[in-house]
């Protein structure tokens, strides 16, 4: 902490931030010239939805801090938000449940994130588009033709690789998911994977993975931005897009392609129940006194200590709640292969069944130890009775 008081350090940091801000302004100017005008005026949209200017500014400060930028970037975040609907987006669906779209588009009390996602310039989205069949196909082709190298490709769902990709065919021409993904991502400015399915395979790729599903990055061998989660938080998606609008580049990512500003710390590090973890206060069973007092859910199988995400900070459903707050442990949905590696979801990881059936590590270990002790006792007794001695030993 001593470094923060250092004057030269502080001046270097603020100079770097000023440079970043200049870059950001230049990039926003360029964006405003190059991209088509916004479809809706954000001010009007917000007014219609009953969001005041004050609420919008509050949201802007929250998002600025969530993106780990200093407060002086607030006006730029607001400006990027006004330009949000300029960004052409092609949204692809592969092997998934559409839960991510549902989570992002449905909300009872929409906050600015949700409204921004509603105003997004979706050129193609299979769930919510009015067009169908050849018409839908035409929409996709138009988007690829109109904005080559400009649009953002958002992918939801894993890509089945088995049978040469024929486990998943889409559209009137019967293209495989693999073909569509290759065609669209090759022309996109950036590919953003939304949800753990497109990031890492997730449930479609869970053992035994009959369709040989892979995440988009692995399947196509391209670099993607992974907004992991099942479903991911809208804030993480909107923030990543805002970052792209502001700086013309995607945010820094961790080794699994997840933006560091959102997935840099674990659930456990931000958890509001963390003090109870450190104190040694655990919920022992559902609905006991500890559960009523909001104690730690570690013994109920919370996988927060192994999961990198910011759920505890930004929460879900307009910041109302999140799983651990609601009383169930984290299931680790932002991690690769969570369905397999985090199991059992409602027991601590120490009770994992590694051998199969109901045999946990501890049961197997205790049994082995018992056998060893019995064997040692027998061996000792027999050695003593036989008077076991080495012959001709130096």
């Amino acid at each position: 902490m001593g470094r923060q008081k250092d004057k030269s350090y502080q001046s270097t940091v603020s100079r770097q931030y000023r440079q970043l801000m200049e870059q950001c302004k230049i990039n926003l100017d360029k964006m405003e010239q190059e991209l088509p005008p916004p479809r809706d005026d954000l001010k009007d949209t917000l007014k219609e939805r009953g969001v005041s200017r004050r609420d919008f500014l509050k949201w802007a400060s929250l998002t600025t801090s969530a993106l780990m930028l200093p407060p002086m970037f607030k006006p730029l975040v607001a400006r990027a938000a006004e330009n949000f609907s300029r960004l052409p987006v092609v949204w692809l669906h592969f092997a998934e449940c559409t839960g991510c779209s549902e989570a992002l588009l449905r909300s009872t009390y929409p906050n600015v994130d949700d409204i921004l996602l509603d105003t997004i310039s979706l050129e193609y989205h299979e769930t919510i588009m009015a067009a169908a069949g050849y018409q839908a196909e035409a929409c996709l082709e138009k988007a690829l033709h109109d904005f080559p190298g400009k649009f953002i490709c958002v992918v939801e769902g894993a890509i089945p690789m088995g049978l040469d990709g024929h486990y998943l065919t889409l559209g009137p021409k019967g293209k495989t998911g693999l073909e569509v993904a290759k065609e669209v991502t090759s022309k996109a400015a950036v590919t953003i994977c939304i949800g753990s399915c497109s990031c890492f395979g997730n449930v479609p790729a869970a053992k035994p993975n009959p369709t040989d599903c892979l995440g988009v990055g692995d399947a196509l061998g391209i670099k993607t931005i992974n907004i992991a989660g099942c479903p991911p938080n809208p804030v993480n998606f909107v923030g990543t897009l805002l970052h792209y609008l502001m700086f013309g580049a995607l945010p820094p990512c961790d080794s699994l392609g997840r933006p560091v500003w959102a997935y840099g710390k674990r659930i456990h590090d931000y958890c509001e129940r963390r003090p109870h973890y450190d104190a040694g206060e655990y919920v022992e069973e559902w609905g006991d006194d500890g559960a009523k007092k909001g104690w730690c859910l570690y013994k109920m199988g919370c996988k927060g200590p192994y999961t990198f995400a910011n759920c505890a900070k930004v929460r879900f459903n307009a910041g109302v709640s999140w799983p651990v707050m609601a009383g169930h442990g984290c299931i680790g949905c932002t991690e690769p292969a969570f369905w397999d590696s985090m199991a059992p979801l409602e027991k601590p990881i120490a009770e994992k069944n590694v051998i199969g059936g109901e045999v946990t590590v501890d049961k197997a270990g205790a049994a082995l130890l018992g056998v060893t002790l019995a064997g040692m006792a027998a061996h000792g007794v027999i050695s003593a009775i036989k008077g076991h001695k080495p012959e001709n030993h130096d």
Binding site: P275, A279, E335
Partner: protein, 225 residues
């Protein structure tokens, strides 16, 4: 007494190896005990939350001794190659002498009275067990460092965590690393019991003072060396 059983002392273990051994014993015991609490904690009921820090303290002790074990392990590997008394890295491959290994298995199973020839510092099965222990120690230290990393992002730990992060991804995330760490703990418990039994059994059968050799460093042989 017709026959006097005269024994000649022979230095078996250097001071460094002996200190290293007992450090490892105490550190591993401490780590297993605290580790079991971390894996399967009990609720500490009495008192208010803000007075209590049971898991926090246990984890602190666990991490403290864990870092200590990493250093002790590095020290042991150094001794394995550069000990001035006896660099014993070749002795870890005593089991490759198949004939000797079979003789030793027969002797351990109480079938024959001819133990393996004493060619190396370790017996054939002993070398296998200690080699396995070294591999387990390495895996344990590695998984431990990975698990410590995300909670301590500053300083040396943060630097080391950056180096081992790719391994975490290869293993499949922190949860898998944690399971490996848990399974290996059982390996240490089993090794501890068998090692203790074999040390005493050797002492009784060979009567050379195996148990005390790890304290005084001397084995008492029948022939002069």
């Amino acid at each position: 007494m017709e026959k006097t059983d005269i024994r000649f002392p022979k230095k078996e273990w250097s001071v460094a190896v002996r200190i290293n051994h007992w450090c490892m014993v105490s550190f591993i015991m401490m780590l297993v005990i605290t580790g079991i609490y971390i894996a399967k904690p009990f609720t500490y009921l009495s008192g208010e939350t803000y007075y209590k820090f049971l898991m926090g303290n246990t984890r602190f002790v666990h991490i403290l001794f864990g870092v200590g074990l990493v250093l002790i392990f590095i020290w042991r590997v150094y001794l394995m190659f550069f000990s001035r008394f006896h660099a014993d890295f070749k002795d870890f491959f005593a089991f490759t002498d198949i004939k000797n290994t079979i003789a030793q298995i027969k002797f351990y199973l109480l079938v024959s009275n001819k133990p393996a020839e004493h060619k190396y510092l370790y017996g054939p099965l002993q070398s296998l067990a200690y080699g396995g222990l070294m591999i387990m120690l390495f895996a344990m230290c590695l998984t431990g460092v990975i698990l410590m990393g995300p909670a301590h992002s500053a300083g040396l730990t943060g630097f080391v965590y950056k180096l081992v992060k790719p391994l975490e991804n290869i293993m499949g995330g922190l949860a898998v690393v944690r399971v490996i760490h848990h399974i290996l703990t059982w390996g240490f418990i089993l090794f501890g019991f068998v090692h203790l039994y074999m040390a005493f059994w050797y002492d009784c059968v060979f009567q050379e003072g195996t148990v005390s050799s790890m304290i005084a460093g001397l084995l008492f042989k029948k022939k002069k060396h």
